[in-house]
């Protein structure tokens, strides 16, 4: 399973990097979202992969997975949403002010 998750993280990163190198704003926002997924999964993976042992204290549980990366990733997901929202609004604003959606805002639409 570890190999699969590593591959997923790699794929998401590659897709994200490719998309942020595009010339139009919308694919760049998609790329940033991909990178958020990849980073969140990567941070989550720092706690290693454990199946069926959620960090909910229970006298009958034998062990738990690491709760700390989960707490960090939880807020990261929400902040990631705020960032995506901010960037897409910037893109809208740029479109309204400059008349096109190029990332440098100087080419013809």
């Amino acid at each position: 399973m570890e190999a699969l998750l590593a591959l997923i993280i790699g794929t998401l990163t590659a897709c994200g990097v490719y998309l942020i190198l595009r010339a139009r704003t919308f694919p760049v926002v998609l790329g940033l979202t991909f990178l958020s997924y990849a980073v969140n999964l990567f941070l989550f993976a720092m706690g290693r992969l454990v199946v069926g042992r959620p960090p909910l204290i229970d006298p009958s549980a034998a062990a738990y997975t690491d709760p700390l990366p989960q707490a960090l990733v939880l807020t990261a997901i929400v902040i990631g949403f705020a960032m995506t929202a901010f960037v897409i609004m910037l893109a809208l604003k740029a479109r309204a002010e400059l008349g096109n959606d190029h990332v440098d805002g100087m080419h013809e639409p």
Binding site: I8, I9, P54, L56, A82
Partner: protein
């Protein structure tokens, strides 16, 4: 605590004076004067003990674990400087009130001046060297503000910038020196440093430390080759020059020399570095001063020269020389402050400072002329004035050096040479300005200044005469206690008499006075020569060259890096990250795969993972069809939340799921205003160029993730798991970490969320966007915007969804859930209403203004934290208890209030973002069912 109050008072006065200036210039002046006197009152309480030989130390714990305290110290040296700062400061307050014209904002001047005064007081009263350095930098900053007071003038801005650059650079060097010193001693406190003299001088790091400290002192005290900032700082108003360049700013450097004198002096390095720098500065300043036609320029170079004299005295290093240095600090402060003030009066009355035009003022202002002549005589070292006494001591010390080295006789010779020029420029100041024929083409007809403008000069001149005639009765006690503070030991035998018999020093004085007269008589050919070499050997050229060079270099670098093309910059960014990663990789001989046992791979898992990866790649392949790409992106997000489900992270799965919904709705709304397809404009090579780094980055991330995942883990998780229930009162450890153990973090994060929402709100304000009338295949939009079945169903669902979110919120402390997830669920439930029923319909039925929701949420979260602070626990410590309800045991924790704050912020921020985008959306295509005041309802 009197020292703390003494230092704080001017800072408080600064704020008050800036505010009170609106009540009139006199109010600001009164406040500034009162603040100065109050600081003096605090100082006086400790002064008596200091005269008895005590050293007062006050300590306030600041960061005890790091060994950093706010510590103030009052001994003889600190007392002398504090007295000068406050005494001359008070006179400047009075003088400035009459110097400035009604157009000049006096409140700003008094504010800056008091800031500077407080910084200087902090500097001279610091026990901790790091703290001293902070005040040192504060003096640089506040003097920058003072010098650039007339910021509409280019020369004032340039002068201020140069002073800041040079003294700031010195401050940086001093920081290095102080850190080394602290390393050597093991403490940054002066008491410890002053007791460790032998250890410091014997240490291998002594020389680098000394050089760094000296660069700090020399830049501040305008010693060669850093002297050039001082003449350029003359663009400041004259009260500023009188304050900064007589008693305070430039004296901070020699203060440092005096302060560290017992531990740094006594070595050959000290003698040569300090002594020689002082000698060169002394001679150079004296010679240049004679040839300056600008009144303040002459005084500026004379100041440089006198600072050189003081530096050289400390460099000589005998106890008597140090005592003479302290004595000259006092004398120079008095006569130079009065001379600057006199120059200010002349400038004020005549409208110019050019000595080729100001002549014969004796006929217009004889009283001011008399005052200036006394001060100039003190500067020249004429007997019966205070400058003579310290200069005699200085000459005697110079003679003492002569016997120590081969060519030692050069020292008294050079010193006498400087003395000759000092007499000559003093003579020029007096003769050119007050006699020497008639004034030439003055802008104004001069007359005596207002009464109170002369009083500060009178006070200082009186001190010059009193000290000059009766030194033992006047200055001796203060000098003794200050010199004892410098030496940190017994005083040498000294005799502050006017007549010492026919000593070599007396003959040097006689030669200087007579030679000075002769040089002034023969000045015309010298001036002609000076005009020819003018500007050819200026140290500021090096400075200009350096500054221009740095600017050119940075402009070149940023032009290379910032081409204005985001794609290229991002490519560089990715490539640098790859390079950094690879460098780390190659340096290690560790295998990629670690020894941790792997989880078995199931068929379902493999298929799901494969599906996820294929979907991700499809997004990239199909990214030109934006709607398709967006839907596929949502699928990838859902896949991520499945991963969280599988690997024991229910909270994350819930969060990811609800965020995914919100994100996709948001991007759909935004996509309406953007082109529906991306044009194919990149070349094949471009695609290949981008694909390579993308694949490399992906490979790197995968390899790194694999390397970590296959290694065993050492984590601090056990502590959280063990303390979650007993310490935080919750069984959901992730939630307890969020609201309790790392609650401060969470508070910061919801603040970021709130700020992002407000930023978006601001961006959308007044944004006019037009969406397309047809979809990308040319079809009209469906006229039935809000289908009845969906609208009714969603309305029915709302109470259920809200119930679920409240349940999730309440159980969050013990089961998967909590403020973040509940907030997102509520937001989704409400957004569904907007989608199904239309923004206008929903907006009219819900409280429109969402800002209070965010504010209240932040307030609740912060107050919860403060509550624990009030009860004496650290910020955001949670308390909990169990109450018994008929339905069962119910837990009540203060962390739940915090979680409620989180919930409100998340709801408010999410809705604010989406609804305002929705409103823009509605405004772009008005339809029949829309209330005309849909946007107005929000305001």
């Amino acid at each position: 605590m009197q020292l703390v109050f003494c230092v704080i008072t001017p800072f408080l006065g600064a704020a008050l004076a800036a505010w009170a200036a609106r009540l009139g210039p006199n109010v600001a002046a009164w406040i500034a004067g009162a603040a100065t006197l109050a600081a003096g009152g605090w100082l006086a309480q400790g002064a008596m003990d200091t005269f008895a030989g005590a050293t007062l130390v006050e300590r306030i714990a600041w960061m005890p674990t790091a060994g950093l305290d706010l510590v103030f110290r009052l001994d003889g040296l600190g007392l002398l400087f504090a007295l000068m700062i406050l005494g001359i400061g008070f006179l400047i307050v009075l003088y400035a009130r009459y110097y400035f014209s009604p157009q000049d904002p006096l409140g700003r001047f008094y504010c800056f001046m008091l800031l500077f005064m407080g910084s200087m007081l902090g500097l001279v009263l610091s026990e901790n060297l790091i703290q001293l350095l902070i005040f040192w930098e504060l003096t640089s900053l506040s003097s920058f503000l003072l010098i650039s007071y007339w910021h509409q003038r280019a020369e004032a801005r340039n002068g201020a910038r140069m002073a800041l650059a040079v003294t700031g650079m010195g401050g940086l060097a001093l920081l290095g020196g102080v850190l080394l010193l602290g390393e050597i001693v093991g403490s940054y406190e002066l008491s410890a440093v002053l007791a460790a003299g032998d250890r410091i001088r014997a240490h291998p790091l002594y020389l680098p430390m000394l050089v760094l400290v000296l660069i700090g002192a020399f830049t501040k005290s305008a010693q060669f080759p850093f002297h050039f900032w001082l003449p350029n700082a003359m663009a400041a108003p004259t009260p500023v020059s009188a304050y900064l360049h007589s008693a305070t700013m430039v004296k901070a450097g020699v203060f440092l020399l005096a302060r560290l004198f017992p531990v740094l002096s006594g070595t050959a390095e000290w003698f040569w570095l300090v002594g020689l720098t002082g000698l060169v500065t002394l001679v150079m300043g004296a010679v240049i001063a004679l040839f300056k036609h600008d009144l303040k320029g002459l005084l500026a170079y004379s100041t440089i020269s006198h600072l050189g004299l003081i530096t050289m005295l400390f460099g000589i290093g005998t106890p008597l020389a140090a005592l003479a240095g302290v004595f000259h600090i006092i004398n120079h402060a008095t006569f130079k402050a009065s001379l600057f003030m006199a120059a200010g009066i002349i400038d004020h009355e005549t409208g110019t400072r050019d000595m080729r035009r100001i002549n014969g003022l004796w006929g217009y202002m004889p009283y001011t002329a008399t005052l200036a002549m006394v001060a100039a005589a003190a500067m020249a070292g004429v007997p019966l004035f205070n400058g003579f006494l310290s200069k005699e001591l200085f000459f005697a010390e110079a003679v003492g050096v002569a016997g120590l080295y081969r060519f030692g006789w050069l020292v008294p010779a050079a010193v006498t040479f400087a003395g000759i020029f000092a007499v000559a420029y003093s003579l020029r100041f007096v003769h050119d300005v007050f006699f020497n024929g008639k004034p030439v083409d003055l802008p104004r007809t001069p007359h005596e200044p207002p009464r109170w403008m002369k009083v500060p000069v009178e006070v200082l001149v009186a001190i010059c005469i009193l000290v000059g005639i009766l030194p033992a009765l006047t200055v001796e006690p203060l000098l003794a206690v200050a010199a004892a503070g410098v030496l940190q030991g017994p005083l040498p035998d000294h005799d502050l008499a006017i007549w010492h018999g026919f000593s070599p020093a007396l003959w040097m004085s006689v030669i200087a006075l007579a030679g000075g007269g002769l040089v002034y008589l023969g000045r015309r050919p010298l001036f002609a020569l000076a005009d020819r070499v003018e500007g050819r050997f200026e140290a500021r050229r090096g400075y200009d060259w350096l500054v221009t060079g740095v600017f050119t270099l940075t402009a070149w670098v940023s032009a290379r890096l910032d081409t204005g093309a985001l794609q290229r910059m991002l490519l560089w960014f990715v490539l640098s990250a790859l390079l950094l990663g690879l460098t780390g990789w190659w340096g290690q001989a560790v295998p990629l795969t670690g020894p941790r046992p792997l989880l078995p791979v199931g068929l379902a898992g493999s298929l799901a993972a494969l599906g996820l990866m294929i979907t991700a790649v499809l997004v990239v392949v199909l990214h030109r069809q934006r709607l398709t790409a967006l839907i596929l992106l949502g699928a990838v997000g859902l896949g991520c939340s499945l991963i969280f489900v599988v690997f024991s992270a229910p909270d994350l799965a819930l969060t990811q799921l609800s965020v995914e919904v919100v994100t996709v709705i948001l991007l759909l709304l935004a996509l309406y205003f953007l082109p529906q397809t991306t044009p194919a404009e990149s070349s094949r090579i471009r695609h290949g160029r981008d694909l390579l780094p993308a694949v490399a980055a992906g490979g790197g991330a995968a390899a790194l993730a694999w390397a970590v995942l296959t290694r065993p883990q050492a984590s601090i998780a056990d502590w959280f798991l063990a303390n979650s229930l007993p310490g935080g009162g919750g069984t959901n450890v992730v939630n307890v970490i969020l609201v309790d153990f790392r609650g401060y973090d969470t508070l910061g994060e919801i603040t970021v969320l709130a700020l992002a929402a407000l930023g978006i709100y601001a961006m959308l304000e007044g944004l006019q966007l037009t969406g397309p009338a047809r979809d990308d295949q040319g079809r009209r939009w469906d006229p039935d915007l809000h289908p009845a079945i969906m609208a009714s169903l969603v309305r029915l669902l709302l109470p259920l969804a809200l119930l679920v979110s409240v349940y999730i919120l309440l159980r969050g402390h013990n089961q998967p859930g909590g403020g973040f997830i509940a907030g997102l669920i509520t937001a989704v439930a409400l957004i569904m209403q907007y989608l199904a029923n239309g923004v206008a319909w929903t907006h009219a039925r819900l409280p429109g203004d969402l800002h209070p929701l965010i504010g209240v949420g932040l307030l609740i979260a912060t107050l919860t934290g403060l509550g624990s602070l009030v009860l004496g626990y650290p910020f955001l410590t949670s308390a909990f208890t169990h109450i018994h309800w008929p339905l069962g045991d119910f837990e009540l924790a203060s962390a739940m209030a915090f979680d409620l704050g989180v919930y409100l912020v998340v709801v408010g921020a999410t809705l604010l973002i989406l609804i305002h985008l929705g409103l823009v959306h509605d405004a772009s295509h008005p339809s029949a069912d829309q209330a005309p005041d849909a946007r107005g309802a929000d305001r």
